[in-house]
Symmetry: D2
Subunit: 104 residues, 4 copies
């Protein structure tokens, strides 16, 4: 499944609701809430509150996916094609940031 | 291009550096920096500091893609398959959150 | 009670624990978690998920105070005098940002 | 200077502008922008992008103060007394969180 398919899936799911997408500031607040949950998980898994890290990968992957889901909502609400955006950020990395870190 | 391809692209780009991926807390700090830039853009485009919104879509899409790029780094650093994670969050939406908002 | 007093209170409370302050990245992750909870509250009170806003002020003030508490931990961990820092940011506002917004 | 004095200072400064305080979601977006700048500084000072850390304390204290300034704006916009809020969070720490970490 490519990114466009995921954008379509999210669009189909949200289409059933009264107001399909919230306003940008409201989606941002949700995004920050989700990033907060990812932060808590990172402190649990790798920080001072470290718990027994069973299912580390599953828990981290869920929180990351929740953040991406919210970003897809924001992109969809403004008609943004994420595949195109991601391609551009990859290209930019090779051009602009290629000498930013110490190479092997 | 599907999500696995983007994960591979990021992996190929980062592979050239001395330390391929930072620690989770360090990637998180970068993520928060990128979310901060997205926030500034949202206030510029839709908030009190509203500027002339030329190229609204391009600017928003760049900031969103920078956030996703950082999330891909975090996922790659821990061997997480994002396609699988995103599929699960879509499934969860239909199950858990389906009655959360008012329907049409 | 002035800000120095609050910094001392936090210092006294944390002094009883095995490791008085976490590392900066770990305190940052906690800060982001607290900002995430403030975000959720703002969406509840003023956004699309609006609930009956009883005790609006109390709930908002609790979340704001939790964020400041974490910032005091960060400041204390590095021996920063917040009264001095805040005085400087007020001074900077009058100098640098004084023409930034439209005046009455 | 106590916290009430700082709240009054901010109130006096913002009073000169056309719209004294932004809406909660807009102040939140600014807050996230400031937390993003603090994050970047933390990665610079203690993370993988570590620079020569001259003036470490000054730079960190500036970013922390910018975040608190934004929180004071949010509190003021809703008539919240931060001294009272902070007193409550200190009290809560002694009651609720007192057994949360390992003691000396």
């Amino acid at each position: 499944m490519n990114i466009k398919d995921f954008q379509n899936e999210v669009d189909k799911w949200t289409a059933q609701f009264d107001s399909q997408y919230w306003k940008p500031h409201e989606i941002l607040a949700r995004l920050v809430e989700e990033v907060g949950e990812l932060s808590r998980e990172i402190n649990h898994l790798y920080g001072p509150k470290r718990k027994k890290a069973t299912e580390e990968k599953r828990r981290l992957s869920e929180e990351i996916a929740d953040v991406i889901f919210t970003l897809i909502c924001l992109a969809n609400s403004k008609g943004i094609d994420l595949e195109d955006s991601l391609q551009k950020v990859i290209d930019k990395s090779y051009k602009r940031d290629n000498d930013r870190y110490r190479k092997k």
